[in-house]
Symmetry: C2
Subunit: 350 residues, 2 copies
């Protein structure tokens, strides 16, 4: 007698339909859905059969309302590197796959003076359980404060710890950059150029620190004329390449703070007839698709971005994930790795 409209275009069955079919109350069905204890095996089986039969799927909006919290997490980003965002997204989705959570993606404009208002409106409207901040906006302390204020959990993804461990997933970029540069020095490079990232970016600062560290260890310094400004864009790489490679005494190797700029430097080298890696070694950072698509393929640093996505989810919402509720304090620094391709060799004289 229960109206069980089903099938194409029809209404979705509700918990009441299930309860009626199984001959129990809706609360009992609710218990089954939420895996409550205190249930006879018999009752559980009956309810599960009814659920199966009706193809019942709980309405997430209703659950959200009743639970007084929804099951959304937000990913906020303003990243020029699409692959990074998507890989991170994949990691997060891998982590929440078997949970009730869904992911809301929100690109923002870090340049806008309404950034904070935008994010506030978004968070107030959607009320996600938590938010993930990808670099570079993860470096914005006001955003973190805003989340705190609104009672929204958050994690910040960064190149170095920015906050206490429970709010921060990072990688050891500085160390790996240093390792890469040590490699150049070991090959015999002495005049090594550097293309910086944008001013005020933590990631840029970390890469620079690693670079200078390695030079210092070898008793080398970075002459001002080999230190080029940059902003992570291809065109900045072009400009830096022009500046560094037009000199009478060009560097024999250049470390670029990301792959796009490295591609720019590489283009300049090609157009000037400078052989890479024979006459010039180049190293980038990110391991973006560009790194493998340019010729010769770029040696670079691979950021464990997908793993960071997984870890970010585990840190943000451990209570919603089944087993991997890891919360080990220091586990939130993940290792970047050096990827050696064809853009590095010994300098000409050796």
């Amino acid at each position: 007698m229960a109206a069980q409209t089903k099938g194409p275009g029809g209404k979705q069955p509700t918990i009441n339909d299930v309860a009626a079919l199984a001959g129990v109350s809706k609360k009992t069905v609710s218990r089954v859905i939420n895996r409550s204890e205190f249930l006879t095996e018999k009752t559980r089986a009956a309810v599960e059969k009814a659920i199966e039969q009706l193809g019942f799927v709980p309405n997430p909006q209703a659950r959200a309302l009743a639970f007084r919290r929804n099951f959304l997490i937000a990913l906020l980003h303003d990243n020029p590197n699409a692959q990074t965002v998507l890989n991170f997204q994949r990691g997060v989705l891998d982590a929440i796959k078997d949970s009730d959570l869904a992911l809301l993606v929100r690109p923002v404009d870090r340049g806008s003076d309404k950034l904070l208002d935008d994010v506030r409106t978004f968070l107030e409207k959607q009320r996600p359980i938590g938010a993930m901040l990808l670099p570079p906006i993860s470096e914005n302390d006001d955003l973190a404060a805003l989340c705190e204020d609104l009672g929204v959990r958050y994690v910040r993804i960064g190149s170095a710890p920015l906050d206490d461990a429970k709010h921060c997933i990072s990688s050891n970029d500085r160390e790996v950059v240093a390792e890469a540069v040590r490699g150049l020095i070991a090959l015999g490079h002495r005049r090594i150029g550097f293309v910086r990232g944008p001013v005020g970016f933590r990631s840029a600062a970390e890469r620079e620190k690693g670079f200078l560290e390695a030079l210092a260890e070898a008793g080398l310094t970075l002459p001002a004329e080999l230190n080029a400004p940059g902003n992570y864009r291809y065109t900045a790489g072009i400009e830096a390449g022009e500046a560094l490679l037009s000199r009478a005494d060009p560097p024999t190797a250049i470390f670029c703070s990301n792959d796009e700029m490295a591609a720019g430097v590489m283009s300049v080298a090609h157009s000037k007839g400078i052989k890479v890696p024979g006459e010039l070694s180049i190293i980038g950072f990110d391991d973006s698709p560009t790194a493998t698509h340019i010729w010769p393929a770029l040696s670079t640093v691979r950021w464990p971005i997908r793993e960071m996505g997984i870890r970010a989810a585990q840190t943000l919402v451990p209570d919603f994930l089944s087993p991997g509720a890891k919360a080990d304090d220091e586990g939130n620094v993940l290792p970047s790795t050096l990827v050696e391709r064809q853009s590095v060799a010994a300098p000409p004289g050796r």
Copy 2:
């Protein structure tokens, strides 16, 4: 006397709080929120003042429940080209910015035999108003049928109309490819190679059609030995490049069905010492970041992907967007454009 817990960590004010403060019923507040007519200017002002004062933001879950539909649209994709996905996403978000809608992004695995089940589960669980299918999964008729079945609106993004206009946003890829190839012929190229896309992809077939069309117009044909298989990946470009450029009679130009494969062909040319564009012209498709990052910069076809995102939103949920409720039948074919860069020139002999 009304309890207005506000501020950090406090509860969000509800419609009841607003009603109490404004001295009206909750239904009236609801009317204000939903811009109902039949409201005195005075009442509206009073309610709006209370909303403002309390910083009230309606709970989307509660609205979704009461409206019997949520305000989510889903973006389903399995796209190797991250930039495309992100640009499309931007377009959609631009379009829905001032609406109540939110965007749920869902990567899927087109290779999985559980694809349909995955998508079904996702749609049943989240119950979005509509779904957007990006290529290549947009070509999957079963997915479209599934949406239909579940009563979820959908639009398919493709290289050519796949369905009736109200379900399909496409671009005129065939024509633009033909235009590009005509350009090569006009420059004097006669032996033009082709690197195909993956078998069974509509996008690949369209590009091939355009290519052959232009050849036919000029009375040319594509010799089997210049027709290389591909799968849109860089490595396929490498293989195709090896096959085509190792011949005694190599082509003087190669059209590649996407940029990544073009980058592969370009790498092979570089490593064989073949000058691009002096000895070999190359054209790609997509205008991905790779196209500008490689050297020389790649001539390619730009897909109006962001505009397609906007149009997709307008087609999918015109009733939720304010003015741009365009539904003109034939307006859903958007123009791709040829982007001329430095990888094309006249063939050696001319």
